[in-house]
Amino acid sequence: MATMKDLRGDAPTWCPGCGHFSIMAGIQKSMIELGYEPHEFAIISGIGCSGKVSEYIRSNSFHTIHGRSVPIAQGVKMGNPNLKVIASGGDGDGYGIGLGHFVHASRRNIDMSYIVMDNSIYGLTKGQTSPRSEHGFVTKSASSENKEYPVDPVCTSIINGATFVAQGYSGNIKQLTHIIKRAIEHRGFSHVNIFSPCVTFNKVNTYDYYKERLISIEEPFHTRDAAIQSLREHHGLVTGILFEELRDDYQTKLGIDFDMQSVQSGEMDHERLTLMQERFK
């Protein structure tokens, strides 16, 4: 069984106190507690502070480009259905530039986990408004306070058919680990949004902010509507597994006996070629 040491990659460069540390620890603890070896995972990350997680966890990792971790991760899972695939990135990566992919991944239901480190700000580019920044939020990238309203990530994935939707908080690593473990084990697309304070640039959504406001639920809601209703009532500030549904994942539904990696060097399959040519005559 893997230990924490086995899962340690490059030395993190996140700011001291950054919420992302707990999320990474949550992912690593989940891998250990579930009894997997590092090589059974593929961790695909996008760009931003959060995107560096693929370099910090020792596994099969791919540090990709901005907003595209989700489609790349789906391709990885299609290529090798035996892998446990985790895509990870920030709220700008997933709900800004990559929002389209997130919605489609939710309805497609490929068996993978998408873990979003939501700090409601662009950190690595030094503090611009993000798609999760609150209405009225003040940053240097806007001439006035934020006139837009934030994306609602969990209601989006719930309403678009994701079969596992949860929300966690960096300040509660016990609950976080529980959620991530369940997300990894869930067969289908699991979306985990995690409130992760940016201690350097976000002076609104701080640890204290979340401590005062978050409510936590023990059991998932029974219906998508109930989950959405509760989230609306609490301005989205609900943690726990919000909704789970058991449904065949995309690859199971295709019903194909997948065998994509085993192509061998050597001559083309002459018999197949001859057989397939017939239909062009």
Partner: protein
């Protein structure tokens, strides 16, 4: 006795123009002729003029021809749009109330009006009206009816006895009409005997070649003229344990395919110009992170939405240079449908060997039009999976964390499959060290850039270009070299033959199939002491610019271009040649 026939059916979209054309083309293929076709169509579902042109010859041909000997008009525009291309003594078949043959002396063609709809209804199958016209056409070139009947039974097998019977009767009706009204116009087509011919489009050949080379995954977004690649593989891949995914957008199209390649699968994406623009950032990622990927770009009329259903060759520079920063890449461009099969197969070998993006360029002319192709040879392209490591080989490295980007003599690093026990590694789009971790160290940066950008220098496909001249002329010793790429192959080749027949200057035809990296040594020898004329379907002479950039030919090279959305005709090519030479 004629040695070729040029035939066209025209009508409104949605009227079965395509299927009528295809049926007659396949009939001629069965009789052993070489057949080339060209479809004109518009970006709408119903209505609008469309036509299907074919040329059948007794020897191999690669061009659907300039002229029309028999024109089947199912709408008014068919004659208006194509009248200038009718050959002397052409026959036009038109719907009319009674059978009647009218001679147009001034323009030297005949119009045969015939109540196709009424006759087909009388046979009990109004849909068979186009079959009557096929019967007339077949009789006009004296094709034996029996083989045609046999073919009809085969293609309508699933539709039942009744449909077969009425279609055979419709063809018989056509033969009868020819005997009764057009017997003086019958001109038999010399018998042909081309064996083992396949009839397919460039898209089908590309998809087929990819599958045979071990491609097991394609993710793409629908786009004309490339969609057929996705559709063909969607039907065929599940049987070999693979699949196609139609995804949300062009970016997902390439990203899923890159993900699958990363996990050790031969995977591809297919698109056209607007899609290649959107995929550009991901192409850069594949180059930087050294993940193989095959991208098929079937070019159409640009820029922007441009002419979505028309032919053009204007993405050359985008395919060669597009993406920020500098990456290794290979750009190939098959000259014929036959080559599309083999080059698609080779592209997967190159992508995996060099661990970089390989772009296979097609164009609408090549993608969507069918042609006869000799049966494929399973031995011509072997599958080579490059430096992909086995579990056993991996053990010998004894590495705790595999150095994915280790420096090697040829710049190509061994690659473990994701999921192998001893193969944990990091793949990255950031500048990285040998272990994959981010670096900004200037010395390491220089070494990594050299590793990536120099590794494809020796890349070479089996046939980086095709070079031909007329009988008795050595292509290396001609005065003028005509240089093209892609689907212009047939037209340039026939134009070259005609120019050599005129007997003033001597000409050869060079068709480049490996655009990047260019086979410079061979081209450099070839270009010496010759005039170079590129022939290309774009405004800015992109092929000429590319050649000038790499070879000292500035005082000896010029171009002929056409960018009206249509392929070159031989007559317009010859007219343009007159101006240049």
């Amino acid at each position: 006795m004629r040695t070729s026939i040029e035939w066209m059916v025209g009508g409104q979209q949605g009227e079965g123009i395509d299927s009528t054309g295809e049926l007659f083309a396949r009939t001629l293929v069965r009789y052993g002729y070489s057949v080339s076709t060209y479809k004109q169509f518009m970006s709408r579902i119903k209505g609008g003029h469309t036509n299907y042109k074919l040329k059948a010859t007794i020897q191999r041909n690669y061009y659907a021809g300039d002229e029309i000997d028999i024109l089947l008009c199912l709408d008014k525009e068919s004659l208006e749009k194509n009248e200038s291309n009718l050959s002397k003594g052409a026959l036009i078949i038109q719907e009319g109330t009674v059978e009647n043959l009218i001679r147009n002396e001034e323009k030297q063609y005949d119009i045969f009006t015939v109540p196709l709809k009424k006759l087909a209804s009388e046979l009990g199958n109004p849909l068979a009206k186009n079959m009557i016209a096929i019967g007339i056409s077949s009789a006009l070139v004296d094709l034996p009816k029996e083989l045609l009947n046999h073919f009809i039974s085969e293609i309508f097998e699933k539709k039942g006895e009744e449909v077969i019977r009425t279609n055979i009767q419709a063809v018989a009706k056509g033969y009868e009409l020819t005997t009764n009204f057009l017997s003086h116009l019958v001109s038999p087509l010399e018998k042909a005997d081309l064996k083992d011919q396949l009839f397919m489009s460039g898209n089908e050949a590309t998809a087929f070649g990819s599958l045979m080379a071990g491609c097991r995954f394609l993710s793409a977004y629908p786009i004309t003229p490339a969609s057929e690649i996705m559709e063909w593989l969607a039907k065929e891949l599940p049987a070999v344990g693979g699949t196609v995914m139609q995804v949300e957008d062009e970016i997902a199209g390439i990203c899923l395919a890159i993900g699958a390649n990363y996990s050790g699968v031969r995977a591809m994406t297919s698109t056209s110009g607007p899609g290649i623009s959107l995929k550009t950032e991901a192409i850069g990622m594949a180059g930087m992170s050294e993940v193989p990927i095959v991208i098929v770009n079937s070019q159409r009329g640009g820029p922007s939405t441009g002419l979505p259903t028309k032919h053009e060759q204007s993405d050359l520079q985008h395919m060669i240079y597009g993406t920020h920063g500098e990456i290794p890449r290979i750009v190939l461009y098959p000259s014929t449908i036959e080559e599309a099969f083999y080059i698609a197969a080779e592209s997967f070998n190159l992508a995996e060997y060099y661990q970089c993006p390989v772009i296979v360029a097609l164009d609408l002319g090549l993608s969507m039009n069918k042609m006869t192709v000799p049966s494929f040879n399973s031995k011509r392209v072997e599958i080579h999976r490059g430096k992909l490591l086995t579990e056993e080989e991996l053990k010998l490295y004894k590495e705790d964390f595999f150095s994915r980007y280790r420096f090697t003599d040829d710049g190509i690093s061994p690659r473990p499959l994701v999921g192998m026990k001893n193969g944990l590694h990091l793949t990255s789009s950031n500048e990285h060290g040998e272990d994959g971790y981010i670096t900004e160290d200037p010395e390491l940066r220089i070494k990594m850039m050299r590793k990536r950008l120099e590794k494809t220098k020796e890349a070479m496909i089996q046939e980086p270009f095709k070079l031909q001249s007329s009988t008795g002329i050595s292509p290396k010793e001609v005065d003028i070299l005509l240089v093209g790429m892609g689907s212009t192959f047939g037209a340039i080749n026939e134009a070259m033959t005609k120019l050599n027949e005129q007997g003033r200057e001597t000409y050869a035809h060079l068709h480049i199939q490996q655009l990047y990296p260019l086979p410079l040594e061979q081209l450099s020898d070839l270009f010496e002491n010759k005039r170079i004329i590129t022939i290309e379907n774009n405004y800015t002479s992109q092929l000429l610019i590319l050649l000038k950039q790499h070879l000292p030919i500035h005082n000896q090279a010029e171009s002929i271009v056409q960018f009206d959305g249509n392929p070159f005709m031989i007559k317009t090519l010859l007219e343009q040649m007159k101006k240049v030479v």
